[in-house]
């Protein structure tokens, strides 16, 4: 099971900047193990970020996103104490959702 995400959400009064560091192998499906067998692809496919329950970003990842994906974006609004939630699903159906309070 994948480890927790590190999320930071900081409001400057008008906008909130969100930085997310996910913990995921992001295996491409192109690499081979030492015996020459192909390592099956294992990567995040879909990602959603919400602010107090409202979707502020949705994304789709292919295997070309780096291991332990990093994502940074902004949205209008958001005040200190609000909640920002980021969740993802990978191609094997694993899920992860983490929440952070806007600072």
């Amino acid at each position: 099971m994948a480890g927790p995400m590190r999320i930071r959400a900081a409001s400057n009064g008008t906008e909130t900047e969100v930085k997310v560091l996910m913990s995921h192998e992001m295996e491409t499906g192109q690499r081979k193990d030492p015996s020459g067998a192909l390592i099956p692809a294992h990567h995040i496919t879909e990602l959603t970020a919400t602010h107090n329950g409202r979707v502020v970003l949705s994304g789709q990842f292919g295997p070309a996103v780096s291991k332990n994906p990093y994502l940074q974006f902004r949205f209008k609004g958001g005040a200190k104490g609000d909640k920002v939630t980021v969740s993802w699903v990978d191609n094997k159906g694993d899920k992860r959702s983490d929440e952070v309070v806007v600072s």
Partner: protein, 156 residues
Amino acid sequence: MNTQRRQALKSGGALGLFGVLVAAGLVTAEEARAAGWDKPAFDAKTMDDALKALGAGKPGESSDIMLNAPDIAENGAVVPVGVKSSLPGTEFIAILIEKNPSMLAASFTLPDGTPGDISTRVKMGQTSSVYALVKADGKYFMVSKEIKVTLGGCGG
């Protein structure tokens, strides 16, 4: 031999079922995207196929899109790429890497209130042009930048 049928079978097989449905007009690209992970777009091996799968057609150029990435990436496994679009009504951003096994790396849908400003990190197998595709106000635009890769990030 019926060559037309051959051709149809060939292109059908390459596009996959969703591609056929999209081509047949039964499922629009938009609906396919809403239904979850856009496999046809992520499987696309050429720019034309990727743009077709994303429903982008022939995107125009725009000086209002900035593609922030290094000129030289020492490690192809971790290449920081940022896309900033000041086009009004920016609703969709995709990052495509021309010489990767599959071109589309990531795509983002931005609801109202989310500015076109996204940064992430991608893998690059070799030196390649990287494209930022932006949909704003219903129209598609694209900009590119070449990133030189010293050490590839896709091999094993």
